[in-house]
Amino acid sequence: MTDQTASTRRAFLKGGAILAAPLTAATAAHAATDPAAERLALLEDEKAVRGLQAALVQRLNAGAHDAAAELFAEPQNAAFDPAVRRVTTEADAEFLEVQPGRTQASARLAVSVATEAPVEPWCPLVDMARQQGEGVVRAAGRRVLETDYVKRDGVWKIARAELRAV
């Protein structure tokens, strides 16, 4: 059973077998009650968390920071780096773990991030460049989108999200 669960999990994570180990352990801890029901609930949690993660990326890329904040458990505390212009997921290195009790979860996702920050401080040449659509520092690089999740009243929300340097 354990082998079967592990096998299913590996397939779901697209090759992330080693990273899947914590989830395998979590699943095993609850298998004693109703393994099938527990497994189904876990899959639904993972789906919800993954949906939140995708929504966060989508809203960040749209520049819809207010809408992105609504995904958080405490929207008023959500802060976004205005320099981030585009986040592209690289799903091969995905990690997702639902904690025992299924009220908390964590995820890590390898991403490419394109940033665009205005040149500071202001000066006349910067002003001229901005009128042309320039005067910004553009950069791109690999980062890890690190997220923590919390389930409140049966609904998953983002507790923390961070684009961490690799």
């Binding site: 006349p124 040449l125 042309q132 659509g133």
Partner: protein, 577 residues
């Protein structure tokens, strides 16, 4: 004898002509353009239907060498005078439409039947700019608007697939042109949608000015150039030219500084000035994209965004908010400053009669006093040593009524010094910086300076183009297009050059490969920029003086350079050194 104007183009207070004034003046165009060279009769008796992409269909009947009738998009025909001239296989045709403020200019390729149409009109500024925060209606009716249409002569049968097109192929090219009526210019195609032009005959060639431009590829031997003197008279110049033959045919349309209408079809002969570098990727020949909307173009209008202050406001912001050598985007790549002057004392003897004693108290603090005075005044300074024993340093003169700055280069091997004395306030704008260059010598222990020798103005920078990378994300290219002006150009993300502007400048040789220059952002942003260019290290150091709502600032300037080439301009400024 040069024909210097009473005021340079950027200081003329151009009349805000009304639509009625323009309509009245344009009545003179009913018989076609003025001309010096003979008109072509090639179209006389011909009919021609021109189809443009997403633009008008123009059905012409050419009754003679100077009369035509035009039906636009099947509407009733209108009669007009016109003029045409030939340039090899090309026909250039220009006409206005009587009773309107509109006209068409046609570049017809008789080999391919392809056509480029420049539709032009007056009083179109308001419609294009009404959403700008600085917009005031009726101010720029005199500015000629244009829309470029690409199409073909409908000779029956299937429409050709090929078209003329916008191009960057001529970016970096420069030409001297002499039109048949005597007008001489240096035209630099230094951007993909801007140009620098020097009017040798009309304004004495002191200054290069900048204007939005169009560049069109006809074939590999033929190109089209247009410019509109936005922010100045609004005059439109359009020509088709052949670089190899150095020949042009074109038109000028607009109102000059006396509000006199110029509508002239011309032919010209030129000389190639050279080619500077392009920075796009290899195989990128695309022209600049224009904003959406008929007539839309990207125009730098610095006086509409520059926040001018009164003299009282200048004094107030300087008293409340003065910034001396704080971090600047213009100095992200500056070379390290030096403390090598600390502990030294020296006396500057300037040729304007002033003598100033300096005591360098530390790496960033100096004291100065006019010779003969007892009290020292203390200022923050920065110094750089771009070449052994050559120092550039500068400081504000605290309490000076014009918020003066002293920016100087001293050669402690040769005993020579050059001062750029900057201050805030011109006769036009209270927070516009001005500058005066003063040569002189430096005396100090163990150094006896020359009696007669001085640094000298030089033309060794004339015609050069140098890119300056100030900070990540902030780069410009300088073009030194005359001995007395400097132009700066903003590159786009793909390396193509874009918006461009210019200001008065001077160039002083300090040593071989080491040149002091300044630029003044007159009728622009009011900044005085200074730079000491080291061609051996491709680096510079410099100091900027600026006053705006956020205060008075004396700021470092420093950038890494690339040499982008040089135009050969010496023969057009024969009296320079």
């Amino acid at each position: 004898m040069p024909n210097y104007p009473a005021r340079p183009l950027h200081r003329i207070d151009y009349t805000a002509l009304s639509e009625a004034q323009i309509t009245r003046a344009l009545q003179a165009t009913a018989n076609g353009p003025a001309n010096t060279s003979p008109l072509s009769g090639a179209l006389s008796g011909q009919s021609m239907r021109i189809v443009t992409d997403e633009g008008p269909t123009l059905a012409y009947d050419f009754a003679s060498a100077n009369r035509l009738s035009l039906s636009e998009d099947g509407a009733g025909a209108a009669e007009a005078g016109y003029g045409a001239m030939e340039l090899g296989h090309l026909l250039f045709v220009t006409h206005m439409l009587p009773g309107t403020q509109r006209g068409f200019n046609l570049i017809i390729d008789r080999d391919t039947n392809l056509v480029t149409v420049f539709e032009v009109w007056f009083s179109g500024f308001d419609a294009l700019n009404s959403e700008q925060p600085w917009f005031e209606p009726g101010q720029y009716n005199r500015e000629v608007q244009r829309q470029v249409w690409f199409g073909y002569v409908d000779a029956g049968g299937a429409a050709p697939e090929a078209r003329h097109r916008r191009t960057n192929r001529v970016e970096g090219q420069g030409f001297y042109w002499k039109q048949d009526a005597g007008m001489e210019t240096l035209d630099f195609y230094s951007s993909t949608f801007y140009t620098n032009f020097v009017e040798l005959s009309r304004t004495g060639g002191e200054m290069g000015f900048c204007a939005p431009a169009d560049y069109v590829w006809i074939d590999d031997e033929t190109f089209v150039y247009s410019r509109t003197e936005c922010e100045f008279s609004g005059t439109f110049t359009l020509y088709v030219y052949k670089p190899a033959a150095s020949q042009q045919v074109g038109v000028r349309l607009g109102f000059d500084e006396t509000d006199t209408l110029e509508y002239r079809l011309f032919r010209g002969e030129g000389e190639w000035l050279g080619q500077i570098a392009r920075f796009e990727a290899f195989h990128d020949y695309d022209g600049a994209e224009m904003p959406e909307g008929k007539g839309a173009r990207r125009v730098y209008r610095p006086m509409n965004t520059f926040q001018t202050l009164t003299a009282a406001e200048v004094d107030r912001v300087a008293a409340e908010d003065t910034h001396v050598f704080e971090p600047s985007a213009m100095a992200g790549n500056q070379q390290p400053s030096t403390g090598a002057l600390a502990g030294k004392t020296m006396t500057m003897r300037w040729d304007n009669g002033r003598t100033v004693e300096y005591r360098f108290d530390g790496a960033e603090q100096l004291s100065w006093r006019p010779a003969g005075e007892r009290g020292w005044r203390t200022e923050k300074y920065k110094a750089w040593e771009p070449s052994p024993n050559v120092f550039m340093f500068g400081h504000l003169m605290s309490g000076a009524p014009d918020h003066d700055a002293q920016i100087m280069v001293v050669d402690l091997d040769e005993g020579l010094a050059t001062l750029l004395h900057g201050w805030v306030g011109s006769e036009y704008i209270a927070n516009e910086s001005q500058v005066k260059s003063v040569f002189g010598v430096v005396e100090m222990d163990g150094l006896t300076p020359p009696k007669y020798r001085r640094h000298r103005y030089t033309d060794e920078m004339l015609g050069r183009a140098i890119t300056w990378e100030y900070s990540p994300g902030l780069t410009s290219m300088h073009l030194y297009s005359t001995p007395y002006s400097l132009s700066w150009i903003i590159p786009g993300a793909n390396g193509s050059m874009g918006m461009q502007w210019s200001g008065p400048s001077e160039y002083v040789k300090i040593r071989d490969g080491l040149y002091l220059a300044y630029w003044l952002e007159e009728a622009c942003n009011g900044t005085l920029g200074t730079l000491l260019v080291n061609l051996k290290t491709m680096h510079d150091c410099g100091i900027g003086l600026h006053c705006g709502p956020n205060g008075l600032s004396l700021s470092p300037v420093g950038a890494i350079a690339r040499h982008a080439g040089r135009f050969d301009l010496a023969k057009y400024f024969p009296n320079e050194t």
